[in-house]
């Protein structure tokens, strides 16, 4: 079960849940299940988000594997300059 941490302002779309348990083995699976559970997240996810898996940041990568006890943090898509 991956432990999914939702960043502050997104919690409004997950009925206030800050930490959610989801069973998934890839980031794509995780996002699909997240959106299935909280349809209000769909637009945000479609626009693009970043995920930090056990501290390492992944930008929009669908097939990144997620371990059994991973911490996955959902963050906005980030840019640099």
């Amino acid at each position: 079960m991956a432990r999914v941490v939702i960043f502050g302002s997104l919690r409004a779309l997950t009925a206030g849940e800050a930490e959610i348990e989801i069973e998934a083995s890839t980031t794509r699976e995780l996002l699909d299940k997240l959106v299935a559970r909280y349809p209000a997240l769909e637009e945000t996810v479609a626009a693009g988000i970043s995920l930090a898996i056990d501290g390492e940041v992944f930008k929009e990568a669908w097939f990144t594997p997620i371990g059994a006890d991973s911490e996955v943090v959902v963050m906005p898509l980030m840019v640099g300059g």
Binding site: S9, D54, E56, V57, A61, T64, V73, G80
Partner: protein
């Protein structure tokens, strides 16, 4: 991870160096084409106005004018984000800021183009405008675009508020309850510009059939291709974009301003079109960074432990919806291990040019507020600023304030280096204050493509897709040389055009050395695999029995065979006969970029009679993971620090009541000059990033994050009064004294 390097860490000459010291290198405005036309853009003189009509007939009739366009010449696009970019390049219906493009001409000479602009008649209906972030958020403010208000925002903020973000964890009220001292302060920072010395420039040649060539100064020619193809409704494959040498970007060239206009003019006139921004246009109509209005509240125990921290950031990003305050909200408290923390941010529109990234976008202002309050708390409680930061510093395993748990990071190492450095214990002269601040940047991975050919004479050609803004071609050649085991001088790295190698994300986010480096190493490994295969064939042994050592193939052991090593050059020489050309390539989107922390230490002397601040001594400590080419790493640290000094002391966009920009030039938008500064001492810290084969972290952006607060803290201590707004120009300091 590889630790003993032959080439990494040395300082070879960069490949574009000779051309740059002799004036031979070609930048955006340095190219011409036969039959070329010169283009000019007509810009709104009003901060906010409806465009009732544009009469271009007189301009069209002027001899020598070959094309005139307005926003009507651009068909709509599907993506609203692209629409904003397009409408920023050429207004449709309304002029949204002083300098907003409303029409453009292409003519046989600069003189005729200028004359044609004068003949275009625009009928404006002036509308109320707003340029201040807090005013723009007030209900009742003129709203720039309807229907884009941030989801979930209430009636207490205007429709200009396009986004709200919140990050953090814990219970800040409980945390503040546990503090011995709480300080809450409001800060304001002015908008600044990246200040690249080369204005935007391009040469466009687009045929009626949609096949085109575009030469432009950009941080991302694939980004240019994608945006222009979308805006002009042509296929990406048909538009070949070549990146010129780029005279500075710092994030300001990660979008398009003039390229779609030049392409459209070319398409209509049937000729190549050269379009170059003047310096005034760069200030008025390219992409400055946000101005901000910030509150920071921090609670600390007498011993210096931060018990709670809360930041509220309001940024204005100009005349179109955008998303950037989240970067500030995420980075504000990143340097600290906090149990109770919250950072909130609002993105707001105003009648100002549309913002784009500027080196660690969003972070410098937020960290300025945070580091200033921490410094004030240290002063109030009589605590050492470095020890206090060490007490609260984020380390490996810290749950960051923006979410992820940190892996190996180098903040503590940087703080300890600062503490041990002679600068920290040097005596202070009269009227001098010492300021210190930490900074942070995420650094990114992103898409890259690298193609590497092994030539028959044993040299190597490498093509990659990231414009070189600071010497990356040298670093990439170094990493290729290290991976292949051959000399640096045997490798030529070039930045290919969009038709020659696969897609690459823009050069930004301090990502090129990291991401292109990974692709380079993988491409080299692919080439090595092929070369080992050829050696195996020649020796008639198993592929698995061949390994690559020091630039040559050799049998893995005596059992495999007693052949002397075959060098890359030898294998390459016979490649035509052993199976054909040898190459390696890699396309990917590497992640696991490592965050980097910096600590800056500055001594500033303030003249109490004039309010003039001079920087007496500056030392910048930064964890870069692994310094591939130390000279260029030092250069990034020094350059970022000086941009931050300018931001802290002098640079600002000044708007009048009329909403017009008052200082669109280098005389009155004062960036640091050589006589303003001392030497900037960079101290490179290396805590390897576990996500990169050589330990590389990004290094380009972090250095602009600490200086705003470091300089402000120094000034505050020098004059004995805290400063709460940037820039701290002499009149403002005098007022405070």
């Amino acid at each position: 991870m590889k630790q003993d390097f032959k080439i990494l860490g040395t300082r070879p000459m960069r490949p574009d160096g000779l051309d740059k010291v002799t004036g031979k290198a070609l930048f955006g405005a340095d190219k011409s084409a036969t039959g070329m036309l010169h283009a000019r853009i007509l810009r709104s003189p009003h901060a906010h106005a409806e465009i009732l009509s544009i009469n271009t007939s007189k301009a069209r009739a002027l001899p020598g004018v070959k094309a005139v366009i307005t926003g009507d010449d651009f068909a709509d696009v599907d993506s609203r984000w692209t629409r904003y970019t397009m409408q920023n390049c050429m207004a449709q219906g309304r002029a949204l800021y002083d300098g907003h493009a409303v029409a453009a001409v292409a003519a046989v000479s600069k003189k005729v183009a200028a004359a044609a602009l004068e003949l275009i008649e625009v009928d404006y209906k002036i509308l109320p405008h707003v340029t201040d972030v807090d005013e723009a958020m007030q209900p009742g403010a003129p709203v720039l675009h309807e229907g884009v208000k941030g989801r979930g925002l209430g009636e207490d903020v205007s429709g200009n508020t396009v986004g709200y973000y919140s990050f953090g964890h814990g219970d800040i009220e409980a945390g503040f309850g546990a503090a011995d001292e709480i300080i809450e302060r409001s800060f304001k920072t002015a908008a600044t510009h990246q200040g690249y010395i080369e204005p935007h420039a391009c040469l466009a040649d687009l045929g009626a059939d949609g096949r085109g060539e575009l030469w432009c100064s950009t941080q991302g020619h694939y980004m240019v291709r994608e945006l222009c193809a979308e805006i002009l409704h042509i296929d990406a494959s048909q538009l070949r974009v070549t990146a010129s040498e780029i005279g500075g970007g710092f994030g300001g060239k990660t979008t398009v301003f003039i390229e779609p206009v030049a392409l459209k003019l070319s398409q209509i006139s049937g000729k190549p079109v050269k379009l170059v921004m003047s310096r005034e246009e760069v200030f008025r109509a390219s992409g400055p960074t946000m101005s901000s209005s910030i509150e920071v509240k921090i609670g600390m125990t007498k011993a210096g432990k931060i018990t709670a921290a809360h930041a509220k950031l309001r940024y204005q990003g100009g005349a179109f919806p955008y998303q950037m305050v989240m970067m500030g909200a995420m980075s504000a408290f990143a340097a600290y291990d906090l149990e109770h923390v919250q950072s909130e941010g609002w993105d707001v529109m105003t009648n100002r040019p549309k913002m784009i990234s500027y080196r660690a976008p969003g972070a410098p202002m937020a960290v300025y507020g945070v580091e200033s309050v921490i410094d004030e708390l240290c002063q109030k409680l009589g605590l050492d600023p470095i020890d206090t930061r060490l007490l609260n510093a984020a380390r490996e395993g810290t749950k960051s304030s923006y979410g992820p748990t940190f892996k190996a990071i180098g903040l503590v190492e940087a703080l300890e280096a600062a503490k041990a450095h002679p600068h920290y214990s040097a005596p202070l002269a009269a009227n001098t204050g010492r300021g210190i601040a930490c900074g942070f940047w995420f650094n990114f991975g992103g898409q890259v493509s690298v193609s590497m050919a092994i030539n028959a004479d044993g040299t190597v050609n490498l093509i990659e897709g990231n414009p070189d803004i600071g010497g990356s071609r040298a670093s990439i050649s170094m990493m290729a040389a290290e991976a292949l085991g051959i000399g640096y001088e045997r490798i030529r790295t070039i930045v290919g055009d969009t038709a020659s190698v696969g897609f690459s994300d823009v050069t930004d986010g301090s990502r090129v050395t990291f991401a292109v480096g990974i692709a380079t190493i993988k491409a080299a490994n692919a080439a090595i695999k092929e070369m080992c295969k050829r050696a195996a064939k020649i020796w008639e042994i198993d592929e698995d029995a061949v390994e690559w050592v020091d630039g040559a193939a050799q049998p893995t052991g005596h059992n495999a065979g007693n052949f002397p090593p075959m060098s890359l050059a030898e294998i390459a020489a016979s490649s035509g006969k052993t199976g054909g050309p040898i190459a390696g390539h890699h396309e990917g989107a590497p992640d696991k970029a490592g965050v980097s922390f910096g600590v800056h230490l500055v001594d500033v002397e303030v003249d109490p009679e004039t309010g003039f601040t001079s920087i007496k001594r500056y030392t910048a400590f930064q964890d870069v993971g692994k310094a591939i080419h130390p000279s260029y790493v030092e250069g990034q640290i020094q350059g970022g620090a000086v941009q931050g000094i300018g931001w802290a002391l002098n640079e600002e966009y000044i708007y009048g009541e009329d909403g017009l920009l008052q200082n669109p030039g280098f005389l009155d938008y004062r960036i640091p000059v050589a006589s303003d500064l001392p030497m900037i001492d960079p101290v490179i810290i290396e805590v390897p990033n576990p996500g990169h084969p050589y330990g590389v972290r990004g290094c380009g952006e972090t250095a602009i994050v600490p200086p705003l607060a470091a300089v402000s803290n120094g000034v505050s201590r020098a004059i004995g009064k805290r400063m709460f707004a940037l820039p701290m120009s002499p009149p403002r300091i005098l007022k405070a004294i």
